[in-house]
């Protein structure tokens, strides 16, 4: 455990020192993954999803706010769908317009979840997103995740029906549109996932705010169980064809990731709870204080002791505690002294030659 805490403190220190670069790198990776996945799913135009354009766009996304990243990835999707057909472009534009009108007005800061959800879905661990959002964000994150799911399933559906969309003419326009709209918005898998993820975000949020011991662990467990139950019920009722084994595997990985997050963001030592009670003029106070598990990193205090002494003041009489005279081995004209320890200050300010000594005090505190 001590090793883990040391690692955590080191990671925190590194993050606080290089947070700008780390955040930019994370945004770069997320944007690159999202654009690559859009290219993989659609791939109608290499002009925006080729290796070089992906790199340039991801670099651009790394230095702009997360709302801008959503806009860039949205534009990439629209360009891809425009190459496929104008109908696909129009449908995607309507979805993005609705997201913009209904959502971005209220909570633009959670916009990164709209990008993160499809990426995690592609990686097979979408369950981590609602649990992490419930732990670290507010309940409104459920809306971002829902929009992320809509975007993912819309792109998937359009790419699966590209033959229908690419051969649309004026006679089949209405029929094709109905097929696509119905396919996107009445997709039972998407609806079941939206319901399960929304319930998970709300449940995790409220459980982790409860004043009980191990609230975060309980929240993670509750979120995982709720998702499992809702996905299984949805599978039974709507025949969504979830692979139970993959759902379980994804859930285990998600729980592990969320436990890691809890370790970094909310690590309390419930074995050392303190209950205190005091009063003022108006109230009695019953306070429960739960200490954080923390480990102060080794503090290295460097004391520079400048010793000055006259050459002929050979400290035979003042060698005293810890000081030991040696012969002038390196022939620099001065005698060497070593191991001054706490007595070193006694030699300060004598005049004559000066030598520097460094004393390292290492202390390790368990908080």
């Amino acid at each position: 455990m001590t090793t883990l805490l040391e690692i955590r403190e080191n990671i925190k220190r590194i993050y606080s020192r290089y947070s700008q670069y780390i955040l930019a790198a994370a945004k770069f990776l997320l944007a690159a993954a999202a654009i690559s996945m859009v290219g993989e799913a659609t791939g109608y135009s290499r002009a925006v999803t080729g290796a070089l354009p992906t790199l340039i766009l991801a670099l651009f996304c790394a230095v702009i706010p997360s709302g801008g990243m959503c806009a860039v990835i949205g534009a990439v999707i629209l360009v891809q769908l425009y190459v496929l057909s104008v109908l696909a472009l129009a449908l995607a534009a309507v979805i993005f317009l609705l997201i913009f009108l209904l959502y971005f007005r209220f909570s633009p800061r959670d916009g990164v979840l709209i990008v993160l959800t499809p990426v995690c879905l592609r990686l097979g661990i979408p369950y981590v997103v609602p649990m992490a959002a419930g732990l670290l964000l507010s309940p409104s994150a459920a809306l971002s995740i829902a929009f992320g799911l809509v975007v993912h399933f819309a792109i998937s559906f359009i790419s699966q029906n590209e033959t229908v969309l690419s051969s649309v003419d004026s006679d089949t326009l209405v029929e094709s549109s109905q097929t696509i709209i119905g396919g996107i918005f009445a997709n039972p898998t998407m609806l079941v996932m939206i319901a399960a993820f929304s319930v998970c975000v709300l449940l995790v949020y409220y459980v982790r705010r409860m004043r009980v011991a191990y609230a975060w662990s309980a929240a993670i467990a509750a979120g995982a169980v709720a998702q499992l139950i809702l996905l299984l019920i949805g599978d039974v009722i709507y025949d969504t064809n979830f692979s139970i084994a993959l759902v379980f595997l994804g859930m285990i990985v998600s729980v592990a990731i969320c436990s890691g997050l809890a370790f970094f963001f909310f690590n309390l030592d419930y074995s050392r709870i303190e209950q205190v009670q005091f009063e003022d003029d108006d109230y009695y106070y019953y306070v429960k204080a739960v200490p954080k598990v923390s480990l102060r990193t080794r503090e290295r205090t460097v004391k520079t002791i400048s010793r000055t002494m006259r050459r002929h003041d050979a400290p035979a009489s003042r060698g005293g505690r810890g000081a030991q005279m040696q012969s002038d081995d390196d022939r620099d004209g001065y005698d060497e002294y070593e191991d001054y320890g706490d007595d070193a200050d006694a030699y300060r300010g004598d005049g004559g030659c000066a030598e520097d000594y460094t004393v390292y005090d290492e202390e390790e505190n368990h908080g």
């Binding site: 309507v94 209904l102 007005r105 709209i181 119905g182």
Partner: protein, 134 residues
């Protein structure tokens, strides 16, 4: 000699100014009632546009049925149905706007109060006007 307390206050203030501070100061220029009215009006326009888009998609999806029953349908009943849905949609949207904007305003005010308190402490540290007033 570095004054750590002063550095801590100034860092906190600079972080606030760089992040939520700008929006809070803009918001603080309004009284709460006026701010909420402005946001509700904006939400009315945005919500109407969103409802129009949703209604358009719905109509397009059911265009065949609409065309077939266009001459036999009760236009007034249709208008009443659409109007009722519009009112319900807008009520929900405006309620969400009111809750979100109220919370946002109150939290912003709280942050701004803390900022002003820090400003006073800093001013006291430099022997500013506020320290004389005490």
């Amino acid at each position: 000699m570095l004054n750590e307390e002063k550095i801590r206050i100034m860092t906190r203030m600079a972080m606030y100014e760089a992040n939520a501070g700008k929006a809070d100061v803009r918001r603080d220029a309004w009284f709460k009632g006026d701010y909420l009215s402005k946001e509700l009006l904006l939400s009315f326009l945005v919500g109407t546009a969103a409802f129009a888009v949703l209604a358009g998609v719905y109509a397009f999806y059911h265009i065949e049925t609409l065309m077939l029953t266009l001459y036999s349908m009760d236009i007034l009943a249709l208008a009443r149905g659409v109007g009722l849905r519009y009112v319900l949609f807008m009520l929900c949207f405006e309620a969400v706007t009111w809750i979100v904007c109220s919370l946002r305003y109150e939290r912003g005010e709280e942050r701004l109060r803390r900022y002003c308190k820090d400003l006073r402490r800093l001013s006291d540290g430099y022997g500013g006007k506020d320290s004389d007033r005490k």
